[in-house]
């Protein structure tokens, strides 16, 4: 089922979470593969389940989130059958993660140097060596000058700098997979480009895979090799980024692509998608996108559309043929 080139394979993942309104079925049985060395994008509107999927990989569940089915294989290990201690050993060293809001992601009471070194010493690196490696890492991610920056507290640094520190922390133990959950959303546009550039450079230099969670198709176009489009807890289309951009098969994907602002379209109205995503508290019988889809017909509401593959590197879930 999983190929040797897959670093991580998600199979039929189902996750529920408790909200003030009741039990939300946030992820509804998704399949997703991330290959070695690729940048894989997961794109979708907020609330479509992409962050929950990302957190599932490292089992970063808080008390309101629950796994209700499926498997995640990481290099063949079934992540859900590992003990708490085993998963703890994987976190940071094999898989690591960076988050949306760097301003709150670091502990305000410790220097960034301490927090960076802590990551290393926790994995058994000696104190002296950790200090030296921390300087090197900060240099690698462009935090300059690293020696003096090390003794600063998070509140003394800008969002962009903190995200660089977060990245340094995440790559400190040479993980095979870096999960980036909306890493640029809360940053200025100019800083966004720098961070994306840094991530691509790191991937090339270290041969690690990146799972890029974003709501921005522009970012996907810019840095991703492959992409999975998520809608209402399911994946509607996935495959090679260039192929999907050239030939989007799912109406949601093409609607999303149309709503990217582009140069040369000044003065024209930006395409928008009418309606709102479905209520995830309820069961969805047919295609989740049907109520907003311009091509929807009777069959769409009856049964979930079967996945179709048009090539080795492109599949989608829609009854509408080619």
């Amino acid at each position: 089922m999983t190929s040797a080139n897959d670093l991580i394979s998600i199979r039929n993942l189902q996750v529920s979470l408790m909200s003030a309104r009741g039990l939300v079925h946030a992820v509804r049985g998704i399949d997703l593969d991330v290959q070695r060395g690729e940048i894989h994008g997961v794109v979708g509107e907020s609330g479509c389940g992409k962050t929950v999927t990302a957190k599932s990989i490292m089992r970063l569940y808080d008390e309101n989130i629950m796994l209700s089915g499926g498997h995640i294989f990481f290099e063949g290990y079934d992540m859900f059958s590992l003990s708490e201690r085993e998963i703890q050993a994987l976190r940071g060293s094999e898989v690591s993660m960076i988050f949306q809001d760097p301003m709150t992601a670091l502990n305000p009471l410790y220097t960034i140097g301490y927090q960076l070194e802590e990551t290393l010493t926790n994995k058994g690196v000696k104190k002296m060596e950790a200090a030296a490696r921390a300087v090197k890492l900060l240099e690698d991610v462009g935090v300059n000058p690293p020696e003096s920056r090390k003794s600063q507290y998070p509140f003394e640094m800008s969002g962009g700098m903190l995200q660089r520190v977060m990245i340094a922390m995440a790559i400190s133990c040479n993980p095979k997979l870096l999960i980036a959950d909306e890493p640029t959303t809360s940053l200025d546009v100019t800083v966004q480009a720098q961070i994306l550039d840094l991530l691509t450079r790191l991937r090339d230099g270290r041969y690690m895979s990146i799972l890029m969670i974003t709501h921005n198709f522009g970012i996907v176009a810019e840095i991703c090799d492959r992409v999975s489009v998520m809608y209402a807890g399911g994946i509607v289309e996935s495959g090679d980024v260039r192929e999907i951009f050239r030939d989007p098969r799912h109406p949601y994907t093409s609607d999303l692509i149309k709503s990217i602002p582009r140069s040369g379209t000044r003065g024209t109205l930006l395409a928008t998608i009418p309606g709102t995503p479905p209520d995830l508290l309820r069961e969805i019988n047919g295609c989740a996108y049907a109520p907003r889809c311009r091509y929807a017909s009777g069959v769409c509401a009856e049964a979930p559309p079967p996945p179709r593959s048009i090539s080795e590197s492109h599949s989608y879930a829609c009854v509408r043929g080619t």
Binding site: S16, L17, M18, S19, A20, G22, L23, E63, N64, I65, M66, L67, S68, G69, G70, H71, D78, F80, S81
Partner: protein, 281 residues
């Protein structure tokens, strides 16, 4: 459920306080040297104290003065504290600074200690104790009001009222205050509980209610020496104090979480949860 029970209890206490004469079996102050420190009996359901007074009747009459004075404390602190807090928050600037510095001085005293000094100045007795605690409670309520007003005054409806040309007084009292009243009411409910405790402490030290007036705190003072002879003399008022304060706390917290749904606890997901290893099958 606990909310309903505590509400019921509080209503009960108020009914007792109002109808104390009807419900009491004896004159609360009548001495009876032949029945000193009697154990509970048919005649005296909770026994008698060291001068033969009926504890049950004293307890009922005591509820009146205890509840009334606790209300009095909160009323005084609200009448002074809320207007000061609104003015300080709304106008800001110098008025705000002056009020806040004044409150800092009041808060420099451990709360009951300032009340002690007030009593030293104006004499012992329940009226002065109520006045003193009322003033001691002002800063806390005023600071809360101020912080609420600081949030409210930047909202659109205040801007709108100002653009229509309403006076500052109207905006403060008729526009902002009604939006703060929920939170203030909760705080005042909790404050009544603290006032019951503080008044009992003062009466216990002989600075509040003076003998022979029945009051829960003063009854405790009567009763604690004779605990071994008739524990009910102290246990009865002690239990009433604790239960009243517990009920007020539950009620206040309950109303707070009703008003602020963000604080509401999420239902547990645990009942849906299956062990992770089950999922491997």
């Amino acid at each position: 459920m606990p909310l309903a029970v505590s509400l019921l209890f509080l209503v009960g206490v108020i009914i007792i306080a109002v109808f104390a004469e009807k419900l009491a079996t004896h004159d609360p102050n009548r001495l009876d040297v032949t029945h000193r420190l009697d154990a509970p009996s048919h005649e005296h359901p909770l026994g008698t104290d060291k001068t033969g007074r009926d504890i049950y009747s004293r307890l009922l009459h005591g509820s009146r003065i205890t509840i009334l004075s606790a209300f009095g404390v909160v009323l005084i602190s609200a009448l002074i504290g809320i207007p000061l807090g609104i003015a300080a928050g709304y106008f800001g600037g110098l008025a705000d600074k002056v009020f806040m510095r004044m409150f800092d001085v009041i808060l420099a005293f451990p709360s009951l200690l300032l009340a002690f000094v007030f009593v030293a100045a104006f004499g012992r007795g329940i009226t002065n104790a109520v006045l003193a605690l009322g003033i001691v409670y002002v800063p806390m309520l005023a600071r809360l009001t101020r912080s609420l007003v600081l949030v409210e005054k930047n909202k659109a409806y205040v801007e709108a009222a100002r653009s229509i040309g309403y006076s500052n007084a109207h905006i403060m009292m008729a526009e902002i205050l009604p939006n703060c009243v929920d939170t203030l009411a909760v705080q005042m409910t909790l404050d009544i509980g603290y006032a019951v405790l503080d008044l009992a402490s003062m009466s216990f030290l002989g600075l509040g209610v003076q003998p022979p007036t029945p009051d829960w705190g003063a009854m405790l003072e009567d009763g604690w020496i004779v605990m071994t002879s008739n524990p009910f003399v102290a246990l009865a008022p002690g239990t009433m104090i604790v239960m009243t304060v517990v009920a007020l706390n539950i009620f206040g917290d309950g109303v707070r979480s009703y008003l602020d749904p963000a604080q509401k606890k999420l239902p547990s997901i645990r009942k849906y949860r299956r062990p992770v290893r089950d999922l491997r099958k």
